[in-house]
Symmetry: C2
Subunit: 205 residues, 2 copies
């Protein structure tokens, strides 16, 4: 057999179950959805930090690393918003395939967009987390002063002001950030992950 | 302090260096480029398999998990080919940020597209690997019968037939798949990764 045909000798590849097995934990996406200022990014990062502390393979997808990179060609039209969420869903799927627990923090206001992402995943891999917080509280927090701009008409189609937020119909988890500390919300997510055997129950947070 | 403001208490997040430190190895993209049939995907998967065996956090991006997912909206026009490579580069960057050694296996025939991807990364993170193989050997292998279709005119703008392949000007690694076994090419890549301290030198392959 000549060397030039060696290339077809083996086409072995590592798959999702191999990676989960090596890691000693499952992989999934924790899809945080909610209004701007509801606390999605803070909670997603806090969950990821605690996963990291426990030696679990994790990653965070949020505006900081997606909007200026992969999705920098997209604006805020309806088409572009849907495409934004579609791509994030596809990338989250790659991370789940790679063995990670990936958290995402995007407003993702439309049920149909979230449902399309859910459909990409195997049963139990897509965990929709509704970060619930009254609009007036979000607007009071307004960490990026986006509500102020929207109220002044400088931002159009802003979710909660002149564009709707569709509350998740059947989220796996609901978090009321107006009622809980960050630590309490993180614990809430970990209880779910252990209950679903994505994490084993041995380690306490 | 009311609970509603707790959300801004801390914005700690895990970064690339934290993940590298935990993993005990560096992260980078091994960007395989070459003609269809040159052996990119086989080698990328073989490298990833060996990384996995050594307990190193890895992932493979190739046509199988990208073309029908993230990039399923893209065709083969010049614009779409460039956008295809751009998105793959951005996703590879996210994986490098997540602490993984990610291998990519795409023809990526244009120097300018590869250079744009390289520019996304920090020094030393983008490792361009030219998978060199004579066109006639690739065409003889033709594992997906794409060359046959291109010769019959059923595929237009096929790299090597009626669309150019621009040989990398300054690749970090060149692999002659017509001269080496898969095992030898894998060893070649590992020597490079150890030399650059992306992997430590203790483990032998």
């Amino acid at each position: 057999m000549s060397k030039s045909t060696n290339i077809t000798w083996h086409e072995a590849s590592v798959n999702k179950n191999d990676r989960r097995s090596k890691n000693g934990h499952g992989s999934c996406v924790l899809w945080f959805t909610g209004l701007s200022g509801s606390g999605k990014s803070t909670i997603a990062n806090a969950v990821s930090m605690e996963l990291y502390r426990q030696g679990i393979s994790e990653y965070v997808l949020d505006g900081d690393n997606v909007r200026h990179g992969l999705n920098k060609d997209l604006g805020f039209s309806n088409h572009d918003r849907t495409e934004n969420i579609r791509r994030i869903g596809e990338v989250a799927k790659l991370f789940v395939d790679s063995g990670k627990i990936v958290t995402t923090a995007f407003i993702s206001p439309f049920q149909s967009d979230r449902d399309q992402v859910r459909a990409l995943f195997d049963e139990g891999e897509f965990i929709e987390i509704y970060v619930s917080c009254p609009l007036d509280v979000c607007e009071q927090r307004d960490p990026k002063e986006l509500y102020a701009k929207a109220r002044r008409g400088e931002l159009k189609d802003f979710t909660g002001i002149d564009s709707p937020y569709e509350i998740p119909a059947h989220p796996e988890i609901v978090i009321e950030t107006n009622q809980l500390t960050v630590e309490e919300t993180v614990r809430h997510v970990f209880v779910y992950l252990r209950k679903k055997r994505i994490l084993n129950g041995r380690k306490a947070i």
